[in-house]
């Protein structure tokens, strides 16, 4: 691996920057691997990296049907936070948030992590009660979160409208200062580069078309558009298409896939120093380093695999954004797009073994998987390598839905779903 540093930049400048090498090999599938990860997003590539770096499994591959980071990793709004209500969730997401903090150093790749603060707005008495409950629950779990008055919220985000004459006035806010954003593509590329350096094969344009199992039911290998690949361990990290892949092994999951939209404005000078989210009127916004305002809309009402959503969904979000941030009213939106998110009934993820031996799944991240990328990948790698869950992801099983042990962040409404 070509190490990135100020010295490398200086040295390459003398060669007219012609000496930079490709950051990962375009691998072709071998006949057999010790483990294969299905899905070349942040979670999948990260899992491959941790399998190689922490568990010594280097004869492994990541298969991706398109190009790496082309799914939800490259489509999300890059928000990172860990202010979830329940103990299990707080442990999971805070594990991830702590890993974000030194991810750039670990990967020798600038992921542009920016802990600029995530502020969640309250608009009603009910919001105040729910959000204050979150603040207290978070503090009890050593997750930073604090309650702000509308004036303090405006001080933190000067373009916020705190006039009381709008339909849903701001009556307060919760602020997690350690939360923020990161450049999403770099996460896929950084993990791919670091995994590749450890010998991991990253195989793009390779769609899974079947899972072969032996006489005892254990997984034997993957049928793909680039041929059959043997492996006794398969980890599926396929986001919206997880149901489709696990169906090949006859495993049914409590998942439904919905389109989720995001949009960006034309780039402007820095006007927004933080991330602002509102559950009640369903809008969230931050500003990228390029200057675009990054806006997240809601999911469509129906399940779909189309990677686009209804215009009325994003229009509804923009109405809210214009009321909260009147300064953006005349700005143009440059692009909008959709991604397919796999949601569970309790809106908490599944990182677990499946009933099929050798088959593991990391799914159900719904509308908020990006923030969890390093932690999720780390725990999924552990689960695959040791054939048992790490204590942090032990509650996030498939069986919790049968046993009534839900981790009901849906009802807790960390965000509007």
């Amino acid at each position: 691996m070509q190490k990135f540093s100020a010295w490398a930049l200086f040295k390459e400048a003398f060669g007219g920057h012609q000496g930079w090498k490709s950051q990962y090999r375009r691998a072709t599938p071998k006949a057999e691997y010790d483990a294969i990860i299905v899905g070349g997003g942040g979670h999948g590539l990260g899992a491959a990296y941790y399998l190689a770096a922490e568990h010594g499994l280097t004869n492994i591959a990541v298969v991706e049907k398109g190009w790496i980071g082309g799914g939800n990793t490259g489509r999300n709004t890059t928000i990172i936070r860990s202010n979830y209500l329940f103990d299990e969730s707080a442990r999971l997401y805070d594990h991830s948030l702590k890993m974000w903090e030194d991810l750039s150093q670990v990967l020798n790749y600038n992921t542009m992590f920016s802990p600029r603060g995530v502020m969640m707005l309250a608009h009603t008495v009910h919001d105040m009660q729910v959000i204050k409950r979150h603040v207290h629950a978070n503090r009890g779990n050593a997750v930073d979160n604090e309650w702000l008055t509308p004036e303090q919220a405006k001080e933190f985000c000067p373009i916020l409208n705190i006039e009381q004459n709008i339909r849903y006035p701001v009556v307060g806010a919760a602020l997690q200062r350690r939360g923020g954003t990161s450049r999403h593509d770099t996460v896929a590329w950084g993990y791919a580069r670091a995994a590749d350096a450890l010998g991991v094969d990253i195989i793009e344009n390779c769609e899974v078309t079947g899972i072969r199992r032996d006489a005892h039911g254990a997984v034997e290998g993957l049928e793909t558009t680039r041929g059959y690949i043997r492996s006794a361990k398969i980890g599926v990290s396929a986001a919206g298409n997880t149901s489709v892949v696990l169906d090949y092994a006859g495993v049914k999951l409590p998942l439904e896939s919905f389109p989720l939209q995001a949009l960006v404005s034309e780039p402007v000078k820095p006007i927004m120093p933080c991330v602002v989210m509102s559950n009640t009127i369903h809008a969230y916004m931050s500003q990228s380093d390029k200057g675009e305002l990054v806006i997240g809309a809601g999911t469509d009402a129906y399940n779909s695999y189309t990677q686009r959503g209804g215009l009325h969904i994003s229009a509804h979000t923009l109405e809210s954004i214009c009321e909260l941030f009147p300064v953006v009213r005349r700005m143009k939106m440059l692009r909008n797009w959709g991604g397919i998110v796999d949601t569970t009934p309790d809106r908490s993820p599944i990182i677990a073994k499946t009933p099929v031996k050798g088959l593991y799944v990391n799914c159900g991240w719904g509308t908020g998987g990006f923030k969890a990328t390093p932690g999720s990948a780390h725990l999924f790698a552990w689960t695959i390598a040791k054939d048992e869950p790490h204590p942090i992801n032990a509650p996030f099983t498939i069986e919790r839905f049968r046993d009534g042990l839900l981790i009901d962040e849906a009802a807790a409404a960390a965000v509007a779903h």
């Binding site: 298409n241 149901s243 489709v244 049914k252 999951l253 409590p254 998942l255 439904e256 896939s257 009402a301 129906y302 399940n303 779909s304 695999y305 189309t306 209804g310 215009l311 009325h312 796999d342 009934p345 839905f401 049968r402 046993d403």
Partner: protein, 97 residues
Amino acid sequence: MLIIDCPYCGPRPEPEFTHGGEAHIARPADPSQATDQQWLEFLYLRKNTRGVFAERWRHARGCGRFFNALRDTTTDQFLATYRAGQKPPAVPVGGER
């Protein structure tokens, strides 16, 4: 935005409707005898089909009635809508993926 053909009222825009999830899921006939696995299947396990999918809709801001639809989840195109209680109509071969 989808245009949805309510079997009672005709084609109307999507915001008049609410989505009711997968269709044709029967509640366990004898609930007190149902196992945890059967409840899991009834409550939570869904086909999440990539292809032609039978689903419920409710014309909430119209006639208020539930009905079913066949929709291709790879294109969002409706192949048919039909009244609650009816069996799904046959769809052209090759629809399922």
